[in-house]
């Protein structure tokens, strides 16, 4: 017979699979075998059904799909013979899970078998039910299981008890039915029944506080007695493990006692004696004994405080910790971690031993110990602990370095007592494991250095020294290069020397060397090289003597294959060659980076508008992946992702460009005479107007916004240049106040500024007349109301459209509670200001302004759906529609899908907060349910606008809304459901 025909014996198939040399051979055998089994299934072959399933179980274990055998399980279960049922149930548990619909069909067979006269068959059914039952089956079969808890044979009772656990976990409502039977099972002597009963009680306590109270009151004493009897019992061969009677039952009992004692002094008191007995009497030379001690310590730590017991427990852990067996040390660390919350002081006593464990050769122990050390650190011991950890960083193996570095950095950040210590430690970490440091860590270091003005010199010198010893650590090189670029002059002149520092002589060309090494090193990545280029540009003005050399280095990158480097090189070269007069101003030292913004950004708490607009920047510092919106910001700003998004006005661009905080512009002009760097920056800002920002902005914007597409920005520049001599005056004002004017002393004419980047800017031919760029539009008109939109754009920000909506009452009636709502798709962001009034007088009008930011500007047009609601003579009136046309963009009248319906609810209340709402577009029913459960928690929502999928029935929707009303205490909620037909009105 062909060994691979369906007649193969199970044994032969296993042999064939075993003899396979390669995975491909194995697959071939399995494929053939599966084909044969499929054929047998389709012929409804009865004789070999159980053999086929046995084969399938083996194939399943090997990790091949076996779903086609599922129905065969059911057939076997339904057969009458015990061996068939046996295999059928086993296959059911292995091949199926509770999520499969097939399982529904098995409920009936299970029910019959649970009532079978043969107790072994009952056992099979209970076991299967316990392993795979779904909530539905649990409801159907709970009465049978409940009855079986009192079955005559203990082997059935124990299985029924475990089966009950599954049932109460699936359907916690059923828990109360099981409390009494479970309590009576606790009085049994049979170990199997006891261990499962204890387990059932434990799980009952977890799902039902009622059960917890009941067991606490009625069973604590009994359980203590059971434990005591067992601890004192004589040798019982069947359950003995290394001289201890049934350690498994010991552990289960201790676990249940822990739950009963937690938070209840009386119950805790009741179990003190037995816990003390277990903790002192159990032998700790064998694993079984240690397992019990370990559990006992856990219980002592969790129940209500008893000083003596705690000391005992901590001592046991101390003994564990010094044990030679790694398993014991591991569990000791694990338990100490839990003990931290109870008695941190006691754990601190073992600090030295724990610290040794961090250096263990066993990765599991190392990791546990490190986690524990992390918890142990506080303000008082951060210095010695960090020192130890950093010293170990050197010796640790590569795979552990990542975790270790992470923990050290977060400890240093969290507990650092002073800045200089922080800088020192970070420097050590960077030198040792700089390649494992996450980006935000070295970003944070730069922010800290920038904020510590008295440590600039110290930091840059320390970094310079570190750079001399190692250049292998990428993030160290980055921070060093940034600091040398910013504080190069301080480095060379030994400014701000601290007492602890050794003097160091760095010449200007040494500093340039250091940066040059970074740029030439072939292992440097793009970010480092780009940062080095900027540093060079900055140094060129700090060190005039080296500027020729710097120019050479920059020029070498002109041929770089990497576009970013090439572009920077060309741009910087232009600045060096043609714009000497503004160079010094351009490469001024960065202003102090805002720590609050940075940490807020790290915590992800910045407003969404910022995160969406920087989302396109791929978060690469230095703007290597150019965000379309903020090219200038990235040009000179080190960490573009720290820059505020260009959302409000072009002024922000300049803020980023020159690193100037706009708020300084309002400072009194009395500082004009000051000569130090900071104040010079102030001056520059003060003497500039917003228009000037725009000029510079667009001059530097390197043509990333094509003039053809956003003619508005082009016209803005031109208009501001042409029609406003003030900007030129400002320009002159600027230069005359800035240090360059001292050298150059020539008034800067607009032409060179225009040409700043060699014609990269928009060409001046695109002159246009200044005036309203977009015609207004009547967005909605009915016999009683007209709504018109006026559009405008903010200069320099083509993404954002300002819309002024004017509502005109065409009727002789007064409209009260007027409410306008708008919905936009995801790529748009809508900001709705409050309306000028919520009462619309007869033949009068009110206005409301909104701001729409289009994240896909140029690709998608603006679209909007609107809804208007008001009361006329006490009667509610609604109107809605889609935006007809938003010139000059294309018209898209419907973005809601055809098969969707829309619903909204509005909370009645003060109109001022009407903008606090959300639009949701739900794709599936599951989302709908999810959304509503989360909505009920959002108290601050005033309105919600939903697209509802078709499979949610209207009645269900109404029901949900009404329950929402009750839960949220919203006594007035509008529910609007509109079908597609209705919407096309």
């Amino acid at each position: 017979m062909n060994p691979f025909s369906s007649g193969t014996r199970l044994r032969d198939m296993i042999r064939a699979i075993r003899s396979c040399k390669t995975a491909a051979e194995e697959r071939a055998v399995v494929r053939k075998e599966c084909a044969a089994i499929r054929a047998a299934i389709s012929e409804n072959d009865q004789d070999y059904r159980h053999r086929n399933l046995a084969k399938l179980m083996f194939i399943h274990m090997l990790g091949y799909p076996t779903h086609f055998g599922q129905m065969e399980c059911l057939k076997l279960i339904a057969s009458s013979g015990f061996p068939e049922k046996r295999i059928g149930y086993l296959a059911l548990m292995l091949l199926l899970d509770e999520r499969q619909e097939v399982l529904m069909l098995v409920t009936n067979s299970l029910k019959q078998d649970l009532n079978h006269s043969n107790q072994y068959i009952i056992g099979l059914a209970l076991c299967a039910l316990g392993n795979i039952c779904s909530a539905e089956m649990a409801r159907d079969l709970a009465p049978e299981v409940e009855r079986l808890l009192q079955f005559r044979d203990p082997n059935i009772r124990k299985k029924a008890a475990l089966c009950s656990i599954r049932i109460i976990k699936k359907v916690p409502d059923l828990a109360e039915n099981f409390i009494n039977p479970a309590a009576s099972l606790l009085r049994e002597k049979h170990h199997g029944v006891l261990i499962t009963a204890v387990q059932l009680c434990t799980d009952l306590c977890k799902v039902s506080s009622e059960a917890l109270e009941y067991f606490r009151e009625k069973c604590t004493e009994g359980l203590v007695k059971t434990l005591k009897d067992m601890a004192n019992s004589s040798y019982s061969p069947e359950y003995d493990v290394a001289g201890i009677t049934d350690p498994f039952l010991h552990i289960r009992l201790l676990k249940l006692l822990r739950i009963l004692g937690q938070g209840d002094p009386d119950a805790s008191d009741c179990m003190n004696d037995i816990l003390a007995q277990v903790a002192t009497k159990i032998e700790s030379n064998k694993n079984a004994g240690n397992a019990i001690l370990y559990e006992c310590v856990g219980t002592i730590m969790s129940i209500e405080d008893n000083g003596g017991l705690r000391v005992l427990a901590i001592n046991i852990l101390g003994r564990f910790l010094s044990n030679r067996d790694n398993n014991i040390r591991y569990v000791a660390l694990n338990m100490l971690m839990k003990a931290m919350t109870v008695d941190a002081q006691a754990v601190q006593r073992h600090r030295a031993t724990i610290l040794e464990c961090v250096k263990d050769s066993d990765a599991s122990i190392r990791k546990k110990a490190l986690d524990l050390v992390y918890l142990l650190v506080n303000e008082s011991n951060v210095k010695p602990l960090t020192k130890e950890l950093i010293e170990y960083l050197e010796a640790s193996d590569q795979e552990f370095k990542g975790v270790l570095t992470d923990k050290i950095c977060s400890l240093v950040e969290k507990f650092s007592p002073e800045k200089i210590w922080y800088i020192d430690q970070m420097l050590k970490v960077l030198s040792e494991a700089g390649s494992f440091v996450k980006d935000e860590v070295w970003h944070a270091l730069i922010v800290v250095i920038s904020n510590a003005s008295d440590l600039h010199g110290y930091s840059v010198r320390a970094l310079y020294r570190a750079l001399q010893t190692t250049t292998e650590q990428e993030s160290l090189v980055r921070v060093a290069v940034w600091c040398i670029g910013e504080y190069g002059d301080i480095l060379v002149n030994n400014v701000g020397m601290l007492d602890i520092e050794e003097p160091i002589t760095v010449t200007e060309s040494d500093a340039v060397d250091a940066v040059e090494v970074a740029i030439k090193r072939h292992t440097s990545d793009l970010t480092t090289k780009a940062m080095a280029l900027i540093a060079l540009l900055k140094l060129s003005s700090r060190f005039p003597s080296c500027s020729a050399r710097i120019k050479d280095i920059i020029l070498q990158n002109k041929q770089s294959f990497v576009l970013e480097l090439q572009q920077r090189s060309i741009e910087f070269n232009c600045i060096l060659q043609k714009h000497q007069n503004i160079r010094a101003a351009l490469v001024e030292r960065m202003p102090v980076l805002d720590e609050a913004t940075f940490s807020g950004r790290r915590a992800g708490s910045l407003p969404t508008s910022v995160s969406t607009s920087t989302g396109t920047a791929h978060n690469i510092p230095n703007g290597i992946a150019k965000p379309a919106a903020a090219p200038v910001a990235d040009l000179l700003d080190l960490s573009s992702d720290d820059a505020p998004a260009p959302s409000s006005s072009g002024g922000d661009f300049l803020q980023d460009l020159l690193g100037v905080d706009l708020s300084t512009a309002s400072a009194p002009p009395s500082k004009l005479g000051c000569t130090n760097g900071t104040d010079l920056r102030n001056i520059r800002v003060k003497s500039t107007s917003k228009r000037w920002y725009n000029v510079l902005l667009d001059l530097l914007s390197i043509g990333t916004s094509p003039p053809a597409q956003s003619s508005s920005s082009a016209s803005d520049i031109l208009s501001s240049i042409q029609d406003n001599t003030a900007s030129l005056a400002n320009l002159n004002g600027l230069t005359s106040l800035s240090p360059l004017s001292a050298n150059g002393n020539s008034p800067v004419s607009p032409a060179p500024v225009m040409d700043l980047l060699d014609g990269f800017g928009p060409s001046p031919q695109k002159n246009e007349e200044n005036g309203p760029a977009y015609p207004s539009l009547v967005a909605y008109e009915s016999s009683s109301l007209r709504m018109s939109f006026n559009f405008s754009k903010q200069p320099g920000n083509p993404q954002t459209t300002l819309i002024q909506a004017t509502f005109t009452n065409l009727s002789p009636n007064v409209y009260n509670d007027f409410l306008f709502q708008a919905a936009v798709p995801k790529f748009l962001q809508l900001h709705l200001d409050p309306a000028s009034s919520n009462t619309l007088p007869a033949n009068g009008s009110i206005s409301q302004s909104m701001k729409v930011t289009n994240s896909q500007h140029g690709k998608k047009s603006l679209v909007m759906r609107i809804r208007i609601a008001y009361k006329m003579n006490g009667k509610e009136v609604f109107g809605r529609g889609a935006s007809q046309q938003f010139p000059p963009f294309r018209v898209r009248d419907q973005f809601w899908g055809k098969d969707k319906r829309r619903a909204s609810f509005v909370r009645h209340g003060p109109t001022a907060a009407r903008s606090d709402g959300i639009h949701l577009h739900l794709a599936a029913r599951s989302e709908f349910v999810l959304i509503f459960s989360s909505l009920t928690m959002k108290q601050d929502l005033n309105w919600v606008d939903l697209l509802i999928p078709d499979d949610v029935a209207r009645s269900e929707l109404e029901l949900t809304f009404s329950s929402l009303t009750m839960m949220q205490d919203l006594n007035k909620v509008d529910l609007l459901i509109s079908d597609d037909e209705a919407r096309s009105e």
């Binding site: 056992g123 392993n131 261990i195 397992a291 398993n327 066993d362």
Partner: protein, 143 residues
């Protein structure tokens, strides 16, 4: 539910028995088994028997050429699981007489029957070897 899965794996890393007490898809299981086996088999005798992986804690023990791996949740007593593995091996020894990889391969269903008597839905049912084996012996007598 303490025990999430029980695996028996040979020295080459081939699975010889797999019993899961929570649902994972075939792909997830294959990936999980691969990762765990790689991690555990790389460790030496002196290192501890516990490995943390994803949200599981793996307690493993080696008997000759066979590794027994038990995945548990964070609440479980690791040492007790170690003891449980030993009980499982002793039980199999009593039935097969010094159990080896081939016994489990060729009597996969019996190994499962034993496991079924010992663990249900991730909790221990029975710790007496006689009680575990009696239904299996009964069935063998009948057939």
């Amino acid at each position: 539910m303490g025990i999430r899965f029980i695996l028996m794996v040979n020295k080459q890393g081939q699975t010889r028995l797999a019993q899961y007490y929570e649902w994972l898809t075939l792909e997830e299981r294959r990936a999980l088994e691969g990762e765990i086996v790689r991690k555990c088999l790389a460790r030496n005798e002196q290192q501890c028997s516990f490995v943390e992986h994803r949200n599981y804690k793996i307690v493993y023990r080696r008997y000759a050429s066979l590794f027994f791996l038990v995945g548990v949740d964070n609440e479980e007593n690791e040492l007790a699981i170690l003891e449980f593995i030993h009980l499982l091996v002793e039980t199999m020894d009593r039935h097969f007489g010094n159990v080896c990889e081939l016994d489990i391969m060729f009597h996969l269903e019996k190994a499962h029957f034993m496991l079924e008597e010992m663990v249900m839905n991730g909790s221990v049912v029975e710790t007496s070897k006689a009680n575990i084996l009696s239904p299996i012996q009964l069935m063998e007598k009948a057939s």
